[in-house]
């Protein structure tokens, strides 16, 4: 199991972006991460379909310390990730050294939205996120008309 102190680094990075360059800069950073760095993952999800998305996130959240997450496929075209306890927010609130660090960045939860949207939308899926602050629901849905890029 990976050490959770890297959540402090992720949080510090988000603060750095907004304090130095503003809110749009961090959204641009997240979207670049999704559309550029994670492009191979998006392609993998397109090729493997919802089952591969569900498998990936189920395994991924199981590898994060302190999370309580249930991944399901409510229908043939969608994947629901029910984050009952977010491992990152829990670490930032409850870990041994939490008191010596700032609280979760006010936009912390938005990174999941922007990274995933930018990663998956070119490949014929939508991504929605509801909730936040320690628990949320995330949904990948295969869209009927994938963009031109995704079918090439």
């Amino acid at each position: 199991m990976a050490h959770g102190d890297f959540y402090f680094t992720i949080n510090a990075t988000f603060y750095h972006f907004t304090e130095k360059w503003g809110e749009q800069a961090i959204i641009d950073y997240w979207r670049a991460m999704g559309s550029q760095y994670l492009r191979p993952l998006g392609a993998r999800f397109q090729a493997g379909g919802p089952a591969s998305i569900a498998g990936y996130w189920s395994e991924y959240f199981a590898g994060e310390p302190g999370g309580e997450v249930v991944v399901s496929q409510p229908d043939a075209d969608s994947v629901l990730i029910d984050v009952q306890v977010c491992p990152a927010i829990r670490w930032l609130k409850e870990s041994k050294d939490a008191a010596t660090h700032p609280p979760a960045h006010p936009m912390y939860c938005q990174h999941c939205l922007h990274v995933n949207q930018a990663m998956i939308e070119p490949f014929g899926y939508s991504f929605e996120l509801t909730g936040g602050g320690g628990s949320c629901q995330q949904k990948f849905t295969r869209t009927p008309n994938p963009s031109q890029e995704s079918v090439q």
Binding site: Y7, F8, W21, A32, Y37, Y60, E64, P87, D97, H111
Partner: protein
């Protein structure tokens, strides 16, 4: 989500993203400000408060740590780390990723500002292949800016694969490598 299990690859990519967007100085500023005194503030608090002992608390000081690929030793007047297999750089080597051109630099990038504030100087060298050594000592204990002698059989500089690739070195917290500005 950006998780901790594969965070290093995102970290490496983030260095390069900042460099592309804002230049090399912005990367150094990110390490010196937000990594040192926000991300690693738990280390900062320990070192500011307890000096060498705080370093030992943060990095660990038992031989058990060798199982994690490094050895750390608290001596009377210095604290030393010999890193044999850096898990961070090692994970990038394993996936053949080098988004940023000088990943290893980030450790000096955040540790030096903390040591500067706490009144310690650093001797350090890394070989960009997951091996490095560090010695931290109080400014008033600092002698000549010469490389410390080989300490014992566990000194990483004696490892067969130490002499590979490019080495970057600092003595008395000053780079002896022209690329780092001295």
């Amino acid at each position: 989500m950006i998780g901790v299990q594969d965070f290093i690859r995102y970290y490496d990519w983030t260095f390069e993203y900042i460099r592309r967007q804002s230049g090399e100085e912005a990367v150094e500023q990110y390490w010196a400000e937000s990594i040192a005194f926000n991300s690693q503030n738990h280390a900062n608090v320990l070192i500011q408060g307890n000096g060498l002992q705080g370093m030992a608390e943060y990095w660990g000081h038992t031989l058990d740590s060798e199982a994690a690929g490094f050895r750390a030793e608290l001596k009377e007047d210095y604290y030393r780390i010999d890193m044999y297999e850096c898990p961070s750089k090692g994970s990038l080597i394993q996936i053949d990723q080098e988004e940023y051109h000088d990943y290893c630099q980030h450790c000096m990038g955040w540790i030096k500002p903390i040591m500067d504030q706490a009144g310690f100087v650093i001797d350090h060298e890394h070989n960009h292949h997951g091996q490095c050594w560090w010695e931290m000592r109080a400014v008033n204990q600092a002698g000549e800016d010469s490389e410390p002698p080989i300490r014992d059989a566990g000194d990483v500089r004696l490892r067969e694969n130490w002499q590979q690739a490019q080495h970057d070195r600092w003595l008395g917290s000053r780079s002896v490598d022209p690329k780092n500005g001295v």
